[in-house]
Amino acid sequence: MSGISSLPGSTDKNPTPFYPDHLFVEGVAAIAVFLVIVLIAFVWQVPLEEMADPGDTAYVPRPEWYFLFYFQLLKYFEGSLAVVAIVVLPALTLALLVLLPFLDRSAATGIRKRPLTAALALASVLCIAALTALSVLEDESHLYTMDLPPVTDEQIAAGEEIFGRFCQICHSVDGKGGFMAPDLTQIGARANRAYIEQVIIDPQIVNQATIMSVIPLSDAERHEVSAYLSRKK
């Protein structure tokens, strides 16, 4: 039996008992976690969409955020390659996870003495983070489609003028403008034109807590602004 006290290298002189001292610490931590969960639950009212309609095949679903990386991964393996993302990669990952303690058998536990394991762990975290980020970015611009007039140079010029009058008080572009709202210098690379139009029509679609107000623009003026912004890349 490899109990804590008999472990080599254990130098603790007066180890704390689990009950009540350690349980108290865990309890305090649990209360903190609980409060954070309730706070988030309170602020972010869980959305409930329309009732399921099996006939509405145009609906594009999104998985929960922690499955987004996998959702994004699937996009890179289409058609006959899908089997790679559905079977091969998950099976390899699972096998690697289960076998980890049997592959990494050295006695070393320090992270600097195990560069391969450390690198693999770091790479996995970075991959998941990057795929999640990509999924979110692509999502925002591809969710929205609209019938829009083609972009002309006149539109872009007029859009820049309108942007200066209404938007630049809060939004900055190329270093000029307010700090109240996100910088839009490269908005064209992050969002498509339809998405920009949607935000102008209803700012709340991006973020329910946004302070952006509905800007009173005519359809033509809005097209001009979206034409201008969609070219800011």
Binding site: F42, V46, E50, P61
Partner: protein, 222 residues
């Protein structure tokens, strides 16, 4: 109080059992009172706490929830709008699911970075991997239950993916759906898996996880 305990202890001889659970020493490197770095040893305990929270909120949701396509959406709407604190309750269950995933990831990272999966704890690591799969299963099955558009179509996509597995995929997908499309049978299946099958498996694997921690102790410091 003391006499009640004595009455029970004389008959069941609980003393050694209780001291086995409560009186073991916690090493300094995992003790937040002695070193702030010990916070990384907290994540596993927090996963357990959040799972308890999920059970509790889940029980209250189940008081009202009806797992049929005709009533699921209406019963969730009822919970949100008509019951006392129902909206908050559902939110906590949903946020709790996310919190559990975050804590599981942090716990796993801690175990990898401190090399805690090594001899003699290989088996506990493997049990932990199964617990990770169980948490993913809870998330996948729970997502369908509100029966809104997102629930229905996300599940359709998910099960279609399973159908893409060569040879057995078609059978697996049909078994999970109870047919060729996501419908009434899918909802009852996912509900039963979510509230019966997975909790039973979770209890068994968690018990094994905790038993091994007590038997083997918390891994020594870096």
């Amino acid at each position: 109080m003391n006499r009640i305990y004595q009455f029970i202890d004389e008959r069941l001889h609980l003393g050694p059992l209780i001291s086995e659970i409560a009186n073991h020493p916690v090493p300094d490197h995992a003790n937040l009172l002695k070193t702030p770095k010990a916070i990384i040893y907290c994540f596993g305990g927090m996963v357990f706490f959040i799972l308890l929270l999920q059970v509790l909120t889940g029980v209250f949701l189940m008081f009202y929830y009806v797992p049929s396509p005709d009533h699921a959406y209406a019963s969730v709407t009822y919970i949100r709008q008509e019951t006392a604190f129902g909206g908050l309750l559902q939110s906590v269950h949903r946020v709790g699911a996310s919190a559990a995933v975050v804590m599981v990831m942090l716990h796993m990272l801690r175990v990898v970075l401190t090399g805690s999966y090594k001899n003699p704890r290989e088996l506990n690591w493997v049990v932990g991997v199964f617990l990770l799969l169980l948490v993913a299963g809870f998330s996948f099955t729970g997502y369908l239950l509100p029966w809104d558009q997102k629930a229905y179509w996300a599940t359709t996509v998910g099960v279609n993916m399973i159908a893409g597995i060569p040879l057995i995929g078609g059978f697996l997908a049909d078994a999970l759906r109870g047919g060729s499309e996501v419908g009434a049978l899918t909802l009852t299946r996912f509900f039963v898996i979510h509230v019966m099958v997975l909790p039973a498996l979770l209890t068994i694997f968690l018990a094994a996880h905790f038993f091994m921690i007590r038997r083997q102790g918390i891994s020594r410091p870096l």
